[in-house]
């Protein structure tokens, strides 16, 4: 490599710098430093004339390393680097010293101090710029395909939009049907749409009628749906993940099934329907709800006796009871996690699980759903009669340090939505909400509170201490403490507003994908504000309720945000990476795996030969591995130990 020819450019910043700092003596000082071949001062380096002067000097004096003493690198670093690359100098060969922010401004009353500090800082920068290495770029080919894990509202929205953009999308869902929690909700706030209609399907955004578009499932070549499937193994990195999906047998081919229902008639086995929380009965081959997607019958393996009756009668030969488990290998560029949440199970709390008339909000939603098991009729589960006094208890399993410390953020809106529809349909039913705080997170949710108050819903602030069944009154006695006073409420139906917890296999999935979870076991994002939807592995994104309880509007927002992120990263078909990454000196590496453990982005991996290896695409240039490495074998380019030591020496020398 040719000898360093350093050019130092000092900006006057129109007097901001030159009024305080004695540029003459600074220039004299700089000229004495070896390898400095050119020193120039200019009024405004950031203006066009200044930039032209910079270019001219680089050309005429064949400068290959530049020090700019001006304002903070945060302001014009990118512009200066571009000038360097335009002049054929590697853009990394630049060091900016902020003599304005760190010398001229703070010591404007003491020019000699400011000049001394500026001299020192510029000298340190010259020492550093000498040690900088040229940095190249690599391009890694990226697959134009995306794996979406989880077929709820978030997953389907993301998949649809990505298919629109021309990506091949694979949608993996662990259940036999798509739609997630959205299907169970009845109506959803804030627009009171039918929950089923909120679940988008194939080509349309939000269909108003599900059945109109069923054929489109079969016709869109860009989305491939795997139901009853689980992601078993993932390896690779952004642009090139290899995924193995375990597809459990569904026994019914949803592409052939027309949902005629002949099979259900002949099935000899009858059990209770968990989709409706036991409010209805079903066969072993069944359709949990008429609205499920894809519209197909599904077989419940646990209860099916494999008698083969259904197989015989199916007019379309859609049923194959001998279907075997399959493993499918996929090659994708990015992965989106939309595994959603599930309801917290309030077992033994407030009599849940002991008395059938203590139910959860999701169960109430099934009851209030006009196409649900009761046809929208409100009943007591124990005897099927209409209840007269309903008490809703908020914050069950959330905002409780012993169970889940976080606020589940949507349960208040759900409770108000249900209270309102009960009051609208049956004004004679007495509805009371026992709450800690009413927290309405959505933009339009305040109207529910106003309407509930207008319709006469009672609100009691307090904490429930005990729920007991009074056999004489045939009602529950709810003891609660409100503002230091003990109160007792009577009810014949108790609805628990349960909190939400991560999906059942979130932990397992986090292990497979090697990504981190928060303490509450939802997927963690790299930064809560600036990168809320990115996980610590580049190329794996998370959206919807998989990163914390969210309502439908927020879920859709996040899904669309993730789609634009994926489209940006993969859209060009290749990923460009600047090689200012961690590098391993194989002679020093002892294969201790400290880098592997300490890397927050899983970029460092120790190979079979016992030598660490950094995947450039995944490295985010933090240098944590370099600081942790006991053998000093792994180093961050341009922040290597010797480079940092050089600048430490330079800064401390007087």
């Amino acid at each position: 490599m040719s000898a360093a020819r350093i050019g130092v450019f000092i900006c006057k910043c129109g007097g901001e710098i030159s009024n305080t700092i004695d540029l003459g003596s600074l220039k004299e000082h700089v000229k004495k430093i070896p390898n400095v071949v050119y020193v120039e001062e200019h009024d405004f380096l950031c203006f066009n004339e200044g930039q032209e002067a910079l270019k001219k000097a680089i050309r005429e004096h064949r400068l290959n390393r530049i020090v700019i003493a001006a304002c903070s690198p945060r302001l014009h670093e990118i512009a200066f680097r571009r000038i360097l690359s335009e002049e054929g100098v590697n853009p990394c060969m630049l060091e900016i010293v902020s003599i304005r922010e760190q010398c001229a401004w703070p010591y404007s009353d003491n020019p000699s101090k400011a000049t001394e500090k500026a001299k020192n800082m510029v000298k340190a920068a010259i020492l550093r710029v000498k040690t900088l290495e040229e940095i190249g770029e690599v391009t890694v080919p990226a697959k134009l395909s995306v794996l979406v894990i989880g077929g709820g509202i978030a997953g389907i929205t993301a998949a649809l939009k990505l298919a629109d953009y021309g990506f091949q999308v694979y949608l993996v869902e662990k259940e036999a049907t798509l739609g997630g929690k959205g299907l169970q909700l009845g109506t959803v706030f804030p627009t009171e749409d039918c929950g089923v209609c909120m679940v988008p399907y194939k080509l349309e955004r939000h269909r108003k009628c599900l059945f109109k578009y069923v054929e489109l499932v079969l016709t869109n070549p860009r989305t491939k749906i795997f139901t009853k499937s689980i992601v078993e193994h993932v390896e690779g990195y952004l642009g090139n993940f290899k995924v193995i999906v375990r597809k459990n047998p569904t026994y019914v081919d949803f592409e052939k099934c027309v949902a005629c229902g002949v099979c259900e008639e002949v099935c000899p086995i009858e059990v209770s329907n968990e989709f409706d929380f036991g409010l209805s009965k079903r066969k072993a081959i069944y359709m949990p709800s008429p609205h499920i997607l894809p519209r197909t019958y599904i077989i419940d393996e646990e209860n099916c006796s494999k008698c083969g009756e259904c197989e015989k009668v199916c007019p379309f030969n859609a049923i194959n009871l001998n279907e075997k488990l399959e493993r499918i290998e996929l090659n994708v560029g990015a992965i989106i996690l939309t595994t959603g949440f599930r309801e917290f199970n309030p077992k033994n709390m407030y009599g849940y699980g002991i008395y059938p008339d203590v139910i959860t909000q999701l169960m109430l939603a099934r009851m209030l759903d006009l196409s649900g098991p009761t046809g929208g009729r409100l009943v007591r589960v124990s005897d099927g009669e209409k209840p007269s006094k309903i008490v809703m208890i908020q914050c069950v399993g959330s905002r409780d340090p012993k169970i889940n410390p976080y606020c589940s953020s949507i349960c208040c809106s759900i409770a108000l939505k249900h209270a309102r529809s009960i009051k609208e349909r049956h004004p004679e039913i007495d509805v009371t909400i026992v709450y800690k705080d009413i927290r309405l997170m959505g933009k339009y949710d305040e109207k529910y509170l106003m309407e509930c108050e207008r319709l006469g819903v009672n609100f009691v602030k307090g904490e429930v201490i005990d729920v007991k069944w009074d056999p004489e009154l045939k009602r529950f006695r709810i003891k609660l403490e409100s503002f230091g006073e003990r109160k007792c409420l009577l009810a014949d139906l108790i609805v628990l507003s349960t909190g939400f917890i991560p999906s059942a296999n979130a932990i397992e999935l986090a292990e497979v994908l090697d990504i981190s979870l928060r303490r509450d076991k939802f997927f963690a994002s790299t930064h809560p504000k600036f990168a809320p939807l990115e996980t610590n592995v580049s190329g794996i994104f998370v959206c919807g309720a998989a990163q914390g309880p969210t309502d439908i509007s927020e879920t859709i927002n996040q899904a669309l945000a993730v789609v634009s992120k994926v489209a940006k990263v993969l859209g060009k078909g290749e990923v460009r990476v600047k090689l200012s990454k961690a590098v391993v000196n194989e002679n020093y590496c002892i294969g201790c795996r400290v880098c592997e453990i300490s890397c927050p982005f899983n970029a460092a991996k120790v190979s079979v030969q016992g030598i660490s290896n950094v995947v450039e695409v995944m490295c985010k240039e933090c240098g944590i591995c370099a600081a942790e490495c006991p053998a000093e074998a792994i180093q961050l380019v341009n922040y290597r130990d010797e480079q940092l030591n050089e600048i430490i020496k330079g800064v401390l020398s007087s």
């Binding site: 903070s72 945060r74 009353d109 982005f601 933090c622 961050l636 130990d641 940092l644």
Partner: protein, 141 residues
């Protein structure tokens, strides 16, 4: 006796503290000029060697600024740095330099006031403690 002016090295994370210093200087608040600043990509990049290197080059104190807890751009770089500092403080005590010559603070990128306050307090503390003992032992000129 001539008043002792400590030389202090500050490592600033470019995502938080370095911005905060910029904000401070935009308000034209003057801070002590004998605090020398080095920008690093993450406070997690600073290893024990760099801190020791600073002491052996004549620094009387080393102060490290990282992002706030949960706000690190690189997930947990700041917390790792904190652990490292905690360990190194003990080592500094053993070798006789004194663990109090090393400090680490977590600041947000707009907490200009906090960062200046930390620097000033540290400066005052080091002035009380006195110069780096390596200086008087003639380890370097």
């Amino acid at each position: 006796m001539k008043k002792f002016k400590p030389l202090i090295l500050a490592f600033l994370c470019e995502n938080s503290a370095y911005r905060a210093i910029d904000v401070a200087s935009m308000r034209k608040v003057s801070y002590l000029e004998s605090i020398r600043v080095i920008k690093v990509p993450c406070s997690g990049r600073i290893s024990s060697t760099h801190i020791l290197q600073a002491f052996s080059n004549g620094a009387d104190g080393v102060i490290i600024f990282g992002c706030l807890k949960g706000g690190c751009n690189y997930v947990d770089g700041n917390l790792r740095a904190q652990l490292r500092v905690k360990k190194l403080k003990k080592i500094l005590d053993i070798i006789g330099l004194g663990g109090e010559r090393l400090e680490m603070h977590l600041v947000g990128f707009c907490e200009a006031g906090k960062i200046l306050e930390c620097m000033n307090n540290f400066y005052m503390k080091i002035r009380e403690i006195g110069p780096n003992p390596l200086k008087s032992k003639g380890v370097f000129k």
